[in-house]
Amino acid sequence: MRIPCPCCGWRDRREFTYYGHETFLHRPAPDAGAEAWDDYLHNRENPAGPTRDLWYHDPCGSWVVVARDTVTHAVAGGEGLA
């Protein structure tokens, strides 16, 4: 499995650390309430098929939102996080 890094191009999966679904990018307001925070921290759509998740490229320190398929392991692409 190879993953595109915005700085370094397509690199081996060994160079990346998986963080989780891109849900993590949508942090609720501090006072949004327990339900919203539970949903953000714990509950997941957990799709079987196309997904978008966060990976960290260890050598260069880039965060990447990777579009890939959880059933085939095919990686369609990725975009860096500013």
Partner: protein, 417 residues
């Protein structure tokens, strides 16, 4: 048909013409008192204990493929009760007791072999942690013995005791731990549930869950609608998809965990052994193959197969612990779909829908839990109340933060288990 040694002998003399299929293949009826979605180990055990403990025999198990085709047939077959935290400790202790009576109970040879489990430690700190775990296991009523280096060497002579980087300091020995023939557990529960009148319906995929006025009414399937006032979701790695049919989002992320088996060897390893410095565990099957595994691949996946980096990591850990395995050829590797929960502990609970129950979040440890999970899920579905040894497996513990069971102590977050 009752199985026995005498029966094997008699059938052998009569040309084995008297054997019958171990369970029926019924067509789904229009309705049942309870439906279990998922014909794996946990689902079949739930159906069996609904019939056995609660007299509920008008029950169907709906399986989209074939019985026992998921994780029950894809694990490394380890059975143990060495958990540390209250909530887990009593549950797995109860489960091991059910394992010890399972073959008699089901009249089925599951080849349960209590060959002992040894968790190795490699530093003073790890020794202290394992001593504490062992004390907790003994306080729970289970068995644990702290072995020193020589004690381990006597039992496991083929490990590498010379290497300096990860020296073996000793091990926590759990004599009642061991292995079982994984498929036979599914088949044994299936046969015993069928004998009590449960309908096991294969090739029947659930496509929708009917809910009216906050109550479950039944399910839609590829073989038609089936009504039932009680439905249990027991589908492991596919929990999120089935729960979504009821409008729920679960605290589950599905990951791939790989396992490996070598060609058959002469007896070389009498126990189940885990390496404390690389997350590697190994045992030898009755056919002689070394069965081993390691960590998750650590990304969400439904592929039921892994990638090469984790293969490499597992092989490295195996070679570090036990260099002799480098001479064995790996025959097969495979992956299972693990329903990972944020704190690494499972859920057996009611849902927001009356009559709908969920059993999920077994992470990479569901096999040993099969009997107690089925028992507890059946109790919950039949009485509406949690079984006392499974009362901590609540779905709301993530929202409230109360009663999290994080055995690894890394935090209740998805990417940490």
């Amino acid at each position: 048909m009752r199985y026995s040694g005498l029966r094997v002998l008699a059938e052998g003399l009569r040309g084995n013409r008297g054997w019958r299929p171990a369970w029926r293949k019924p067509a789904p009826r229009p309705g049942y008192d309870a439906i279990i979605i998922g014909g794996g180990g946990h689902g079949l055990a739930t159906a069996y204990y609904l019939a056995r403990n609660h007299g509920l025999t008008n029950v169907a198990v709906l399986e989209k493929g074939w019985l026992g085709g998921g994780n029950i047939g894809r694990n490394t077959t380890i059975v143990r009760a060495n958990y540390f935290l209250p909530g887990n400790s009593e549950f797995y202790s109860f489960s091991l007791k059910l394992w010890e009576g399972m073959e008699r109970e089901l009249n089925y040879n599951v080849m349960h072999s209590q060959r002992g489990l040894i968790n190795l430690f490699h530093s003073d700190g790890q020794r202290d942690a394992f001593a504490r775990r062992g004390n907790m296991m003994r306080a729970q009523g289970d068995d644990a013995v702290l072995l020193d280096r020589e004690g381990v060497r006597r039992m496991l002579p083929r490990l590498d005791y010379e290497q300096a980087r990860f020296p073996i300091y000793g091990g926590l020995y759990h004599p009642r731990g061991g292995t079982a023939r994984h498929d036979a557990v599914a088949w044994g529960y299936a046969r015993a549930a069928d004998a009590r009148g449960v309908d096991l319906i294969e090739n029947c995929e659930v496509t929708g869950i009917d809910i009216r006025d906050g109550r479950v009414k039944g399910v839609q399937t590829t073989r038609g609608a089936i009504w039932a006032p009680k439905v249990g979701i027991v589908v492991a790695g596919r929990s999120s998809q089935v729960a979504a049919m009821a409008g729920m989002r679960l605290p589950i992320e599905s990951h791939v965990l790989q396992a490996f088996v070598t060609e058959g060897l002469k007896p070389a390893l009498d126990h189940v052994v885990s390496f404390g410095m690389g997350h590697f565990y190994i045992s030898q099957s009755d056919k002689g193959g070394l069965v081993f595994g390691g960590d998750l691949d650590f990304y969400a996946s439904y592929a039921a197969r892994g990638n090469l980096p984790m293969v490499e990591h597992v092989m490295e850990a195996g070679m570090t612990l036990m260099p002799m395995i480098g001479r064995a050829k790996v025959l097969r590797s495979w992956g299972g779909i693990m329903d990972m929960s944020p704190d690494g502990s499972p859920v057996i609970d009611r849902t927001g829908v009356e009559g709908l129950y969920v059993n999920c979040g077994w992470n990479y440890g569901g096999f040993k839990a099969v009997p107690a999970s089925g028992w507890s899920m059946a109790h919950l579905m039949a009485t509406g109340q949690p079984w006392h040894d499974a009362a901590h497996f609540r779905l709301d513990r993530f929202r409230t933060g109360r009663g999290l069971m994080d055995e690894e102590g890394t935090g209740a977050q998805h990417n940490l288990h």
